[in-house]
Symmetry: C2
Subunit: 323 residues, 2 copies
């Protein structure tokens, strides 16, 4: 019997992940390559085409690809374009959906990467069985995808769920977006790095982190230091978790979610991050939500990042079939 799959493409600032995914969420093959986003978009498409061709050539007979789902930073489902992405040097409005459609001769649906990730959690990951939750991707920035009543929250202009730009402090840190004090300047890999540098200035304790330059320091280095009991790293996770937890309480006051699902480099620290988040969120939660909002780790991102775009493709495909 014919096996039906969709092609999931997750375009990140550093890596692009590609995979063929069944409706049950089985990844039958996948690959990843450097996005090289400083080069032109046409170079990226050539490389993408080559990578997908390799996957397709290796397929067993009888597998048919029905649809393509793409998650990318600042991708707008209404326009089909990537709009002003801060980490991709492809110009102000990259015609993503159109170009991929023309290259692969298959129907394409696109979404903001974090929105696709939220769908991935709902269909195949930690959000299975939930109809109201928020997925937070704590990577270079803070991405978010909101599921309301079993559907992705899109918004009036296709740009809902930019929780990275909720305000923590109007006089706070400069953000790439031009504002000050955005949540992602604190609660992301870049954010905790900034916090570590602030704490190294403030505290006197010795720390292995004092051997890194701002350019060389990584989220992994901070996590490892924290796991080894380094007081600066631990304080940085505490501060990050406290800020994120308090803002998650505000998000709960909007959406009354069942859970937050965390992914991205920062979330790999596990309880060192989750504990202060949970404590501070619970403290700030309005009575109606206290004790009711879970904080979970993602199971449909990272190495499985193609599940989000695949979920997006399957959703769109089902809509097309019904219509």
């Amino acid at each position: 019997m014919e096996k039906e799959v969709v092609l999931g493409i997750d375009i990140g600032g550093s890596y692009t992940k590609v995979g063929l995914v069944t409706q049950k969420g089985d990844i039958i093959d996948k690959t990843a390559f450097k996005t090289d986003a400083q080069k032109p978009f046409s170079d990226f498409i050539k490389r993408l085409k080559a990578e997908v061709d390799t996957l397709v050539t290796a397929l067993e007979p009888g597998v048919s690809i029905l649809f393509i789902g793409v998650g990318a930073p600042n991708a707008n489902p209404y326009t089909g374009e990537i709009e002003n992405p801060p980490n991709l040097n492809w110009g102000a409005a990259t015609p993503l959906a159109k170009t991929i459609n023309q290259s692969f001769k298959l129907p394409v649906t696109i979404a903001n990467d974090a929105n696709a990730a939220a769908l991935g959690e709902m269909f195949f990951g930690a959000g299975k069985g939930m109809k109201n939750f928020v997925a937070l991707t704590l990577g270079t920035g803070l991405g978010s995808g909101i599921i309301v009543d079993g559907k992705l929250l899109i918004g009036a202009h296709g740009a809902a769920g930019e929780l990275g730009h909720v305000n923590v402090d109007p006089h706070g840190r400069s953000c790439n977006c031009g504002l000050r004090g955005c949540l992602e300047t604190y609660a992301s890999v870049t954010g905790i790095k900034r916090t570590v540098f602030e704490l190294m200035a403030d505290m006197t304790e010795p720390s292995p982190l004092r051997n890194y330059s701002f350019e060389t320091m990584t989220g992994t280095a901070i996590s490892e230091a924290a796991l080894n009991g380094d007081p600066i790293a631990l304080a940085a996770f505490d501060k990050t978790g406290e800020i994120l937890g308090s803002k998650m309480a505000d998000t709960a006051a909007h959406l009354d979610p069942e859970a937050f699902i965390l992914s991205g480099g920062l979330s790999k620290a596990g309880d060192i991050l989750l504990n202060p988040i949970k404590t501070r969120m619970e403290h700030h939660l309005f009575g109606a939500y206290k004790g009711k909002v879970k904080v979970l780790l993602s199971t449909a991102t990272g190495d499985n990042a193609v599940l989000g775009p695949a979920a997006l493709a399957w959703t769109e495909l089902e809509n097309t079939r019904v219509a």
Copy 2:
């Protein structure tokens, strides 16, 4: 020909409004009475029954009431109960839907008052034709109702849209809910009153507001003083608008709404409140939303407050007819 109407009931901390409303939003008759929420719930139901009976008796022949919609503080659509309302002395869990159903022998649907108000705006008011907006009621507290993709956002536990308890300042003003720095302690009639008292302590300018005690001061007095150029009142509206505007930008980062629709005592000040809100919201908006989010005044609350509960009833009735 038979004329079909629903009975809309808006239960407020001070007044309860009752009206008979057609599917087009024509209020064919209405009345209002003091809620007297310090007396038992059974007294309220007796009074409500009497008021509705009077309306029904006065009806022209051929009008049939099909459904009842009720908006009330802390009303939970999942349980049918009013849960721990701060301004109604009816106990922890008042069986609102059940009691009204038994009293009137008609199907009943209930919602949080601000949620019902948001539906009222969408069907009959300033939100007509919009599918994504946020209704904010700036009264004794700050209530909110969120419309996403043409539907009321309910949330996982029936308690979405508690924007009055978004945090402005973790060390800020005490809130009735037990937290500190909640938005409604600043952006509501009570909130601006607190701001006026803070400013009277801080500033030296003479002001008619200095003749009021905290108990006797009203939102109307503050609005009138502002319209007459009183510097303390104007500063209070500026501060209120700035705080609310900055938090509305955060709400936009969640929901990407087309508009905010403002109602309640505080909104009667018009541009004196709207101007600082718009300026500050625009300043804090993430790039994707700048210039795209309207701030409007309600047309389906106040004297027309029965439109919200009526919209709720008509929505539920349509769902019932389809199912």
